[in-house]
């Protein structure tokens, strides 16, 4: 493929992207099977769960039939998958309304929280990562290394607790519970979600900065950078003009990996601040063993993760001049 002529370069890239896309779809399919199988392994079943211990076997059998639980597992899997794809993943057992409606209410909140956190985290993380790479081995670099190394290992609820203590208990600037509703203005909304965003960003920034630093330093050791240094190119120019174009793929990869962390971190952060998002919905689904809802939430999180990884890989393919050349 490296020997491909420049004209076929673009089509080679497209083929690669197509293959990568297909493999993501296949992975998602396998993930859906895994989640379905695990969710169906629970002792007892949803019908028994819904009716409680006092139900007669006939009642349970009738409800099982009504819910379609008496069909063989592979039939249930196919109909569940078909439902997921067509946007109807079944009925939520606890809320007693379609899963799609429950999720439709929460998903925009989560996406907004993730987007705002990313917006805060990306520039800070890039600045820290590139800054400490340029100062490699120096005092600032070593200090930042210790700080980010510690931040990646701190539990979210400690960051959240400290944020609440500072900003809502001591300074009384922000509410300690996240408010988010459609009838709020932007100012109120931002005040309401400032602390969840802060908490999520802190840990994402630490992770992303570390990976960005590693990506930039990896390039700094290459001969072409040494050449530029010997030519007397200014350090800032070396980073921006020489290193960055080559480090884009690993940096985007780092961003995608860190942002995928937002998915898991949101589980704790949404719960501690009572934020009405998808992750806290999923926690409720676990507590109430609402399997249809849980499966749908899990699939959304997995799909989001796979999409992020896909974006990272496609960027890497497009950033490779051998494939991009037209």
């Amino acid at each position: 493929m490296a020997g491909a002529s420049t004209r076929s370069g673009m089509s080679a890239a497209l083929t690669l992207i197509g293959k990568r896309f297909a493999s993501s779809l296949l992975t998602l399919l396998l993930v859906s099977m895994t989640i379905f199988v695990i969710a169906q392994l629970l002792p007892g079943d949803a019908a028994q769960e819904a009716l409680g211990q006092s139900a007669t076997p006939e009642q349970v059998a009738a409800l099982r039939h009504e819910m379609g639980l008496d069909r063989p597992a592979h039939v249930r899997y196919v109909s569940w998958l078909a439902g997921m794809v067509s946007g109807d993943p079944g009925q939520s057992l606890v809320a007693n309304m379609p899963v799609s409606e429950v999720i439709a209410e929460r998903l925009p909140n989560s996406l907004l929280l993730a987007a705002l956190s990313a917006l805060v985290a990306l520039p800070v993380a890039l600045a820290i990562g590139i800054g400490s790479a340029m100062n490699r081995g120096g005092r600032i670099d070593r200090a930042l290394n210790i700080v980010t190394l510690s931040m990646v290992a701190v539990p979210e609820f400690l960051v959240a607790t400290i944020a609440v203590l500072i900003f809502s208990v001591k300074l009384r600037w922000l509410p300690s519970i996240a408010m988010a509703s459609s009838d709020m203005g932007w100012g109120d909304y931002l005040r309401g979600v400032a602390m969840p965003i802060l908490t999520l960003s802190v840990i994402v920034i630490a992770q992303m900065a570390r990976m960005t630093r590693a990506a930039v330093i990896d390039q700094m050791d290459r001969p072409y950078v040494e050449m530029a240094v010997l030519k007397g190119v200014a350090p800032v120019r070396i980073v921006l003009r020489h290193i960055m174009p080559n480090a884009i793929a690993p940096i985007v990869n780092a961003m995608a990996l860190s942002l995928s962390y937002l998915l898991g971190g949101a589980v704790i952060v949404e719960t501690i601040f009572n934020y009405p998002g998808l992750a806290s919905l999923m926690v409720n689904a676990v507590t109430s063993r609402d399997m249809p809802l849980l499966q749908a939430c899990a699939m959304i999180f997995c799909a989001a993760y796979l999409i992020l990884m896909l974006i990272a890989d496609v960027t890497a393919i497009l950033a490779n001049p051998r494939l991009r050349a037209q």
């Binding site: 392994l41 609820f157 607790t161 962390y261």
Partner: protein, 276 residues
């Protein structure tokens, strides 16, 4: 022993701090409950969310129990569960990786594809599904945490083992007619033990954070047992007044995980692989 001491002396300051924290928490997990000034479940203070005092070094919790005593006992759950789960995850992942490395592509291909699939399920989401399906007794939590982090260990161990399997000395062993089991255990494993130990430390950190997170959500260790995450959860009503009862266990978890991280970093192994 003298060798270990000299190595510890050669560590940079951050590594010494990390080592001290790790030793401290191991000691607390082993001996802490014996030093507890009060029984774990006893109501000993008249006020809830007391500040620190001579009688209660870390104040009292939401029911008027001694926070220090509960913390000492909670640390044993957190450290013990996480260490056992990390050990189980690492041994399982490494055993599978060695099997893949010496088993040829017929074993390697399907196993690696399967692990790649598992690794693309975010770990917190995966463990939530597992908890919903199986419940969260202590034994199950251990298994769930271990299972969640097997794929990550497998990926790293396999990369190491496949590289080693191509080395000349392994080829020589093969030509000598050594069995696959001997090659995996006696030839390959000893040469990957160092990075594997560092990976074990990382798994331990991930699992501490995962289990505390689950307990914090009320889905982990169940009362009357309590790990450090449960302590944060049960005292969450003290957040508004900045109670020591909620800060102390949260800071305890952080010092434990940060300590392990600092130590691994100072020993000089760049941890690659999926983050938490």
């Amino acid at each position: 022993m003298g060798n270990a001491f000299q190595r510890a002396k050669a560590l940079p300051l951050s590594g010494k701090v990390g080592l001290a924290l790790v030793i401290f928490w191991l000691a607390v997990a082993l001996f802490g409950p014996m030093l507890a000034p009060y029984p774990v479940g006893a109501f000993v203070a008249y006020d809830v969310f007391d500040a620190q005092s001579a009688k209660h070094w870390l104040g009292s919790d939401y029911l008027g129990r001694d926070v220090l005593s509960r913390l000492l006992s909670g640390a044993r759950y957190t450290v013990g569960l996480a260490a056992a789960a990390a050990l189980l995850a690492s041994t399982t992942g490494t055993a599978l990786a060695l099997t893949a490395a010496v088993g040829g592509s017929k074993v390697d291909e399907p196993l690696s594809r399967f692990m790649d699939m598992l690794i693309s399920i975010p770990s917190k989401i995966f463990s939530l599904v597992l908890v919903a399906a199986f419940g969260s007794s202590l034994g199950l939590l251990l298994l769930i945490a271990a299972f969640t982090y097997v794929p990550g260990n497998y990926r790293i161990a396999r990369a190491l083992a496949v590289n080693l399997a191509q080395m000349d000395y392994v080829q020589v062993a093969r030509a000598r007619g050594e069995g696959r089991f001997h090659i995996a255990i006696a030839e390959i494993l000893p040469n990957m033990i160092h990075p594997l130990l560092a990976d074990f430390g990382l798994r331990f950190v991930f699992i501490v954070l995962l289990l505390s997170g689950l307990s914090f959500l009320g889905l982990g260790v169940q009362p009357p047992d309590a790990d450090l995450g449960s302590l944060v959860r049960e005292n969450i009503s003290g957040l508004g007044e900045g109670a020591l009862a909620i800060l102390a266990p949260a800071v305890a978890i952080a010092t434990l995980t940060v300590g392990v991280n600092l130590l691994i970093d100072a020993i000089g192994f760049s941890g690659k692989g999926k983050g938490r």
